[in-house]
Amino acid sequence: MNTKILKKYFNEMYSDNGAVRDIYQSYARWLKELPDGTLERRNAEAELLFRRLGITFAVYGETKNAERLIPFDIVPRIFGAAEWQRLEQGLKQRVRALNAFLHDIYHDQEIIKAGVISAHQVLDNKLYRPEMQGVDLPNQVYAHIAGIDLVRVAENDFYVLEDNLRTPSGVSYMLENRKTMMRLFPELFVQHTIEPVEHYPQMLLNTLREAAPANVTYPVIVVMTPGSYNSAYFEHAYLASQMGVELVEGQDLFVHQQKVYMHTTDGPQQVHVIYRRVDDDFIDPRVFLPDSTLGVPGLMDAYCSGNVALANGVGTGVADDKSTYLFVPEMIRFYLGEAPLLSNVPTWRLSEPEDLSYVLAHLPELVIKEVQGSGGYGMLVGPTSTQAEIAAYKQRILAEPAKFIAQPTLALSCCPTLVESGVAPRHVDLRPFVLSGKEVRIVPGGLTRVALNDGSLVVNSSQGGGTKDTWVLED
């Protein structure tokens, strides 16, 4: 089985002829010289560390054992300086275009006028927010924090799987994974020159400062969480404490005369920037879902008046929707006049009759996703599904084809991973975090997610995925 994967999939560590790739040379040597059982022992230490630190996440729909550890794999995923640089350029380009697109559709809609994308695709999208039409944002940035999911299928062949422009999560794992690796394997960090990632919170803080309303010199910044029962609560608290800002819930904030305040022990204090990890639908019961208790009544009014900044901005969902995804390469050409550096995965839109009939005939080969889904929920991976599962999913598609897109099953690259039987290849993806303020910034690397089950292509933590430390080696 393993050899089959080795042949079929790009392996991050070994080339096709079985030789160790250059960037892994030093690591492979170290691994070879490691006494038997050392990896397993350090792995046990790592698990203990994570449990003690309480780095847990909640899985929706699971009542038992509500706090679970996200499995951490101690074999790092390594990039060389040159390959990372190419990725970084592509990521910055893509996020610039996405922000330009968001600014455009909420202002003059040139891209629609030019016929690149249809008015229907944008304006009839459920995630398009008419409330945002004509609202000016500082630096014209909508998606201050973007998580762009990449997969690799060959040495120089990367695809963007999806753009996450709403409330992308996972960066705390990137940071904690690095900390854990440095504690478990200090010798590796002496042997390799690895680009640091620890400054991400500072970078985020700078980005948030730049997002503040123009007339505010010393903005008060907060992180807003749906609360301690949210699956990513650990991350919200972690980032707030790393940036030295308050972690608030909706109930801590109120709006008075179009300004936002928080309740403090010394009375109300005005807030200028809210890094909110609450979805659009829930942030203001007066404008969006009326029964939301997570939000702040009047927040949209304050936001549209320019008295408070939200990161990410409201209405970014229209750009990371899986049906809009198709148009991102066009956006790059349209707004930047450049050729896209990163490729899209070929995608069939099931709203199109031709695409639909092709996809229905080829379900066992394809991956089907919900247009507005995320987190790996509600998707069908054809090659690993049973006939019954495929038949059931087909019924869902037929009921509402426009809700779905299809993509070929990608040969995700493999990375050596410690599993019960030893070190074996497992499929990985990569989520780098792209920050946009006055400039676009990225910490080298990102979060590598790994599908821990043999042969599985689903890397989501909710579906048996784990994470790895991601190294970018300096030249």
Binding site: R52, L53, G54, E246, L247, Q251, D252, H256, Y261, T265
Partner: protein, 319 residues
């Protein structure tokens, strides 16, 4: 500081302190129960005391009926359904800490989280000896948490709220522990001052780690008056009402803020009464009555602190 953060820090500290003090209360009860008291229904009557002073007599009786050593101990130590059990206190302390993880240090979180994980590994059934070990463990964890807190946290308003919670809770609990003696009556008047009486006051001192202090200060046999003086009025006795109110008042002065005036006044008043009070007067009124009044005032102060700092107050803007 965010009101909700202050609220969580305050309750985190109160719950840890309460867990420790419940362990201490149960410890007195266990020590006392070792002494033979040959009257009818000794067990029920002896074990009713810890239930009564922690305010869970009614809920216990509804669940278990007559007070029995093992049932009361289990109910107050490990029963998740009892909101005042040590188990519940440690759970709530962790919940509070989890909500404000950003406002406490990672070492503090680790102690609280480890405590909770360890507690869940303990067997649900324990014999007498094991329970004594368990009480020691609870005290150790509380000591550890306090030490880690003082050793790692920034000395700002957050620490003041932690101190406020700790010492207000401790004052409340010391008063209740002292009141045990009122509830555990001696079989007859002739026993007053006898061996049983001596033993009970002695175990009460031990339960608040004050036995050695008593010997050093008074160098004499244990007398109710002196034990009470030590635990109420002595400012140098770390668990005395006076020492606790010293800390409460100091914390309130550190927190300051214009809305805390009434809280500061109440704390000052209570502190002054302890500073200038005399044990003879307290005994003159009756110790139980004195302690009951103290608990009433402490509760009042607690409510005032909640209203002044911990509640949401948007109306302040529209002054």
């Amino acid at each position: 500081m965010l009101s909700r953060t202050a609220e969580n820090l305050y309750w985190m500290a109160r719950h840890i302190e309460r867990a420790e003090n419940t362990a201490r209360v149960l410890d007195v009860a266990h020590r006392t129960s070792l002494l033979p008291l040959d009257i009818e229904g000794t067990e029920a009557y002896l074990w009713y005391a810890p239930l009564n002073i922690t305010g869970c007599a009614v809920s216990y009786t509804a669940k278990h009926g007559l007070a029995r050593a093992d049932a009361v101990t289990h109910y107050m130590a490990l029963d998740p359904d009892n909101p005042a059990s040590i188990y519940s206190c440690l759970r709530l302390a962790r919940e509070n800490a989890r909500t404000v993880r950003g406002a406490i240090t990672s070492e503090m979180w680790q102690v609280i989280n480890d405590t909770w994980l360890e507690l869940n590994r303990l067997p649900q059934q324990m014999d007498h000896e094991k329970f004594r070990d368990f009480f020691d463990w609870v005290k150790d964890r509380s000591h550890l948490f306090r030490g880690v807190t003082l050793g790692t946290i920034l000395k700002d308003i957050g620490l003041s709220f932690i101190k406020l919670g700790t010492f207000l809770e401790r004052a409340d609990n010391t008063a209740r522990i002292l009141d045990v003696k009122y509830h555990i009556l001696l079989p007859s008047v002739s026993d007053v001052g006898g061996a049983a009486d001596y033993y009970q006051w002695g175990s009460l001192l031990k339960s608040v780690s004050a036995f050695e202090a008593y010997q050093r200060i008074y160098r004499d046999v244990i007398s109710p008056l002196r034990v009470s003086e030590l635990l109420i009025f002595r400012a140098d006795m770390p668990r005395s009402l006076h020492a606790c109110m010293d800390e409460v008042e100091a914390a309130l002065l550190d927190i300051n803020g214009f809305s805390g005036q009434e809280a500061r006044r109440l704390a000052g008043e209570q502190h002054a009464a302890l500073h200038f009070g005399r044990i003879e007067d307290a005994f003159g009124r009756g110790l139980h009555e004195y302690l009951t009044d103290f608990l009433k005032n402490t509760a009042l102060l607690g409510r005032e602190i909640r209203d002044a700092y911990l509640a949401r107050r948007d109306r302040l803007l529209i002054r």
